[in-house]
């Protein structure tokens, strides 16, 4: 029997899959168009995929809107077109194939049928075939042009496609390929689709910008009636040209439109103030202007390709606000808003994506479920993948907003669709996107519907279309990750089909199925009944994974590494682990290729190595890794160092069993890698630190070699190497101290060397050296420091004073910390005058822009104040309150708080309170601020002694005309009240409450927040009983302005402790106007 495909006949058995099956698989792969994340990433980078949103803009016509039926019909037509095109394409392929080969196959088939077919019939049959084929071709040339989005030039009504040009031009012409880097401009080529339908389009209102350009070519800088513009671009003419040469608005509608245009222009191009003002005006009056005019102006602007990032951002914000105001009025425009906003869901800008999501969510709330679905429905099986991708995202947002229970029936219907695989694909993708929106581990809202969802997805796991199967597997993965650690019962049903899928697929699709099973197995650990399942599947999947270790595909490698670190592997499960997993793993992942691969993979390799080490044999794996730390290739060495860091830092206890040989190898390996590095990275230092911490005293035999390496590198001519050496000292200082004998004195020697290097020129290195000095001095106890001779502490400090003036931030921070350490550890070696000098230097530091420096400086103030006594320091700080800069005053206030805390309040409080008598706003505010910090730091037991002392000051502040006085005083009271709950008697707080409560009518946001907070704090200190007496009267006050704040206070009390409120509710028996209603609660009158 001749073989049909004409392949060579052999008698030997076939060891590959049949030819037909291979063909089919290949075809399926070709058809697959689900966008994989990597490809999408690539597209996002090149931005081509996103550019497609501008091609949809033609549907954004406000004059006509298609009904649902029309849209569906149009979609049907498009699909049909595509199907016919695909058929024609296939036919073409076949004819080409037939002409090249001998095409015996068709003939043999016809011959077989000959016996019951007359020759005439046969003739007509084949003839018809030809005719219909050619018909299709003719139809499809036009159809293709009509409905595919390709745009070609049209001359005299004839589209100039390649095939037509071939007919028109005489032979001999050759088509020239466009030069490299040429991109087609879609705007410049006339749009065939529109031109062929209605030949001439009368200029609409917005297109008369051409005449405007012709009139005056220069762009206007000032537009009548619009002030505060920053710029006006050429593209803006298209939309706002009407504003320039309009004579006078005729109708009311037109006036409105002009108004809106002006405002939008201001929002888009205006200065910050103008923008803010018009934004507010638009939102406030949006109902007055109406959805038609507003959206009709904004939406076309949003799809303008030349729009800049900031302009788009502000317009999107505007749309969001308008939607909120318009509410149900937007319904008729849902489709248009979706067309414009939905593509932003895949924008590269994260905030824009979030905003778009927010808008669509709001739109869903306003438009309702039915409206949204009828608008998205036509796009779900759109022929264009871009449209489907976006509509799946929109659907996911709708489902998230309205709850899955409402959305589930629709989802079911879509996924069960038999007609079209694209609909199924999109439906499944909706679930996937929903999971992504919710985020990993946030499956609470999915969990109730999980078994239903899995049930829907079960048949599609065996779908005939490959891409549907892949997306199903990926979606199941996503679901499993979301609901972790619950839901294994629901997934049980799909384990088998998924496993069958795993066996049947190869390549990319195999990765998807691996992911699916690999994410379900970890769920089994949380339920004891699934132990057998878990063991079985883990064993089996390991076999598949080890087989795929060598796969060159990045996606597959990532999948395997991820699964490897989440599987419940154990020695018992795989007794022969060394040969079955660890060796193949090291063979295929620990090589130079992986090391030089993208960062993500090397990170995954490190994680997986760590996981294998924990699960199987820690020291064995460590030994493997250490081997690579002496490799010739630097990247592989770095990978090994990363792995060592991960291993030693996450399980330091495992190193206890380390034998001396491996120990030597480990330290040697790290040291080697450290010395040989050419690109200096932090990981080497971190790994060193982790190993030193784990080995601790066991590091002492190697100490000599480590220290000599450090010292050698500290003298290196490259600044980077010196810096790294100093950093290493910082990390190792405490271990060095432990490893050296007390009289040996390695640390003092290091201190001397570092002290001598203080003349360093490079600021970064200097900062590291000071940090190292800090770490070394920190290891010494007080008596050692006192006895230290060369250099003594009072030699070190004066040499730091000039360094404090250094402008570099790292140096500043390091030196302040060192000063603080000295002030803390050995203050008596320095005289008071020197300390005051340093205090003055430190005041300058409070100006620093870096918060860490200010914090360090303030801490140091505390230490110094403790040493030299608070009097001098506080006077200096009080003088500093009079300066202009706010930041400086705030920092001074903080410093005062710290000084008061370290030296107990009574030493500084009188001086601070005395300063309040100066009739100057800044000073008084500064004093209040200082009190805020002071009472924030003090605990209640201390603070309660000062309550009566400071109450006159607070009284004065709370009755001051200045808002800030009252606000700050309220904050002081809040801190006191919160610290003194249950400690102080209540009358002082009643007094405070009497003073604070009139302020609740303030409207300034900062003030009212502070006031309400302090009222809340007083409530906690006083208890609900007394406090609620202040509230009841206000709740039903005739004036709404009064009722408002009282309800606010009541609400917080209610939310915080409802049950405690019950005994204090007002007792009402009857009310005069409703005599017949009984308000009494009889249960409360029972007594025994």
């Amino acid at each position: 029997m001749p073989s049909e495909n004409g392949s060579k006949q052999t008698l030997a058995g076939s060891y590959t899959i049949p030819f037909e099956l291979a063909q089919e698989l290949r075809r399926e792969h070709k058809q697959e168009d689900s966008i994989l994340s990597k490809e999408l990433q690539k597209d996002i980078v090149s931005n081509e995929y996103q550019q497609r949103r501008y091609q949809r803009a033609e549907q954004l016509d406000f004059s006509k809107s298609l009904s649902y039926k029309e849209t569906m019909e149009r979609r049907e037509l498009e699909r049909e077109e595509q199907r016919v095109r695909a058929l024609v394409e296939e036919k073409k392929q076949q004819t080409i194939g037939a002409s090249t080969s001998t095409s015996t196959s068709t003939r043999t088939r016809t011959r077989k049928r000959r016996w019951d077919v007359t020759p005439e019939e046969y003739q007509t049959d084949t003839g018809e075939l030809h005719i219909s084929e050619s018909n299709k071709k003719v139809k499809s040339v036009i159809g293709e042009l009509l409905h595919s989005n390709t745009k070609v030039a049209v001359v005299g009504g004839i589209p100039l496609t390649d095939s037509i040009l071939d007919k028109i031009l005489p032979s001999g012409y050759v088509k020239v390929n466009p030069p490299v880097g040429y991109t087609e401009k879609y705007e410049s080529i006339p749009d065939l689709t529109e031109a062929s339908i209605d030949m001439y389009i009368p200029p609409s209102e917005t297109s008369d910008y051409k005449s405007a350009i012709a009139l005056g070519n220069q762009l206007p800088t000032d537009i009548p009636g619009v002030k505060g513009l920053q710029f006006f671009k050429e593209q803006d003419m298209k939309y706002f040209g009407k504003l320039i040469h309009v004579t006078e608005p005729k109708s009311k509608e037109e006036r409105k439109e002009i108004n809106v245009m002006k405002l939008i222009l201001k929002v888009k191009n205006g200065s910050q103030i103008a923008r803010k003002r018009s934004l507010r005006q638009l939102t406030d009056n949006s109902r007055k202007y109406g959805a038609d005019i507003l959206l009709g102006q904004i939406l076309p602007l949003l799809v303008e390709p030349s729009l800049e990032q900031s302009e788009r951002h502000i317009l999107v914000k505007l749309v969001g606000r308008i939607l909120f105001q318009l509410d149900e009025l937007v319904r008729p425009h849902t489709n248009k808003i979706l067309i414009v906003i939905a593509p932003l869901l895949i924008d590269e800008d994260f905030t824009l994506r979030l905003e778009a999501r927010e808008i669509i969510s709001n739109l869903t709330k306003a438009a309702g479920m039915a409206n949204m679905i009828s608008n998205i429905r036509p796009d779900i099986d759109h022929t264009d993948e871009f449209v489907r991708n976006i509509s799946s995202r929109v659907c996911a947002i709708v489902a998230n907003t309205l709850g899955l229970s409402a959305f589930l029936p629709f989802l079911k219907a879509v996924i069960k669709s038999k007609k079209n695989w694209m609909a199924r694909h999109t439906g499944i993708k909706i679930i996937q996107q929903l999971c992504i929106i919710l985020g990993e581990g946030n499956g609470n809202s999915i969990l109730p519907y999980l078994s239903q969802l899995v049930e829907i997805l079960k048949p599609t796991l065996m779908d005939e279309i490959l891409s549907v199967r892949i997306i199903t597997a990926l979606t199941l993965t996503q679901l499993a990750e979301n609901v972790k650690p619950f839901g294994i019962e629901s997934f049980e049903t799909i384990l088998e089909p998924a496993w069958i899928g795993l066996k049947r697929h190869r390549g990319k699709s195999l990765a998807a199925f691996l992911k699916c099973i690999g994410s379900i197995i970890p769920l089994m650990q949380y339920d004891n009944t699934y132990e057998e399942y878990s063991n079985y599947y883990t064993k089996e999947i390991v076999i598949v994974m080890v087989r795929e270790f060598n796969s060159p595909d990045d996606d597959m490698r990532k999948t395997i590494l991820k699964i490897l670190s989440s599987l419940p592997l154990s020695r018992k499960l795989i007794p022969n682990y060394n040969k079955e997993i660890i060796q193949p793993f090291f063979k295929s992942f620990w090589n130079r290729r992986t090391a030089s691969d993208i960062k993500q993979i090397s990170k995954l390799v490190v994680d997986a190595t760590n996981e294998l080490a924990i699960r199987f044999n820690f020291l064995d794996v460590l030994q493997h890794v250490v081997y690579y730390s002496k490799d010739d290739n630097e990247q592989l060495r770095r990978l090994a160092v990363q792995a060592i860091y991960k291993l030693t830092s996450s399980n330091p206890d495992e190193l206890l069993a380390l034998d001396s040989h491996l120990e030597t190898n480990l330290v040697d390996g790290i040291l080697y890698a450290f010395q040989e590095q050419t690109i200096h990275q932090r990981i080497y230092l971190q790994a060193f630190g982790a190993v030193a911490k784990a080995l601790n005293i066991r590091l002492s035999p190697h100490m000599n070699s480590i220290i000599s390496t450090i010292l050698y590198r500290l003298k290196n001519e490259s600044a980077e190497i010196r810096q790294q050496a100093a950093d290493l000292i910082t990390i190792l200082a405490s271990t060095i101290n432990q490893c050296s004998e007390p009289d040996n004195g390695i640390i003092p020697k290091l201190i001397l060397i570092l002290y001598e290097s203080l003349g360093e020129v490079y600021p970064d290195v200097l900062g590291s050296i000071i940090n190292a000095l800090f770490a070394c001095i920190d290891t010494q106890n007080k008596s050692n420091l006192y006895a230290m001779q060369n250099p003594s502490v009072n030699q070190i400090l004066p040499s730091l004073t000039p360094i404090l003036k250094n402008r570099q931030e790292k140096v500043q921070e390091a030196s302040i910390k060192l000063v603080g350490l000295i002030a803390n550890k050995s203050p008596e070696t320095i005289n008071a005058k020197e300390w005051m000098r340093i205090c003055f230097e430190l005041l300058e530091m409070l100006k620093s822009t870096k918060k860490r420096i200010r914090v360090a400086a303030n801490d140091t103030f505390g230490h110094i104040a403790k040493t030299v006594g608070p009097q001098d320091v506080i006077v200096m700080l009080l003088n500093n309150l009079r300066v202009q800069e706010r930041q400086l005053r705030v920092c001074t206030a903080v410093a005062m708080g710290i000084v008061a805390e370290t030296c107990s309040p009574f030493t500084v409080l009188p001086a601070i309170m005395n300063e309040y008598r100066i009739p100057e706003k800044n000073v008084q505010n500064g004093v209040l601020k200082a009190l805020t910090f002071l009472f924030e730091y003090l605990d209640g037991a201390t603070a309660k002694d000062y309550l009566f002392a400071i109450s006159p000051l607070l009284e004065d502040a709370l009755t001051d005309r200045d808002l800030v006085h009252r606000q700050t005083a309220a904050t002081v009271i809040r801190h006191i009240a919160l610290n003194c709950i249950g400690l102080a008697n209540e009358e002082i707080f009643i007094h405070f409450l009497n003073l604070v409560i009139p302020n609740i009518y303030e409207t300034s946001p900062h003030v009212i927040i502070r006031i309400l907070e302090s009222v809340e704090a007083i409530r906690l200190a006083l208890g609900n009983g007394v406090f609620t007496n202040y509230i009841w009267a206000g709740l039903f006050h005739p004036a709404k302005k009064v009722r408002n704040p009282y309800w606010k206070i009541y609400n917080t009390a209610y939310v915080h402790n409802v049950d405690a409120l019950v005994p204090y509710y007002p007792k009402i028996e009857t009310l005069p106007d409703t005599q017949d209603i009984n308000y009494n609660i009889d249960e409360l009158d029972l007594f025994l």
């Binding site: 009722r1043 609400n1051 029972l1086």
Partner: protein, 84 residues
């Protein structure tokens, strides 16, 4: 502007959780109903209060607790046509 919207949203979210919250538009009846409901809920969920009251009324504590909860449906009722 945005603050007000946010405040309103916060209020709505809390109101969904704590039904007894109110604002300037809350009516007297609504407030008093909530007061009654809170009181009844508190009475029925403190075990010792239930026990105490049921001893007074000579009822089964669990039945008494259920009657309290049932009463929460419409806590405020018209006076029965006067006894005297």
């Amino acid at each position: 502007m945005a603050d007000k919207v946010k405040e309103q949203n916060d209020y709505n979210r809390l109101k969904a959780k704590y039904i007894g919250l109110g604002n300037a538009d809350t009516s007297r009846t609504e407030f008093l109903t909530n007061v009654h409901r809170d009181t009844l809920a508190s009475l029925s969920h403190h075990q010792h209060l239930v026990l105490y009251n049921s001893v007074i009324l000579n009822e089964n504590p669990e039945l008494y607790r259920q009657s309290l909860i049932k009463k929460m449906v419409s806590p405020i009722q018209k006076k029965p046509i006067s006894k005297g």
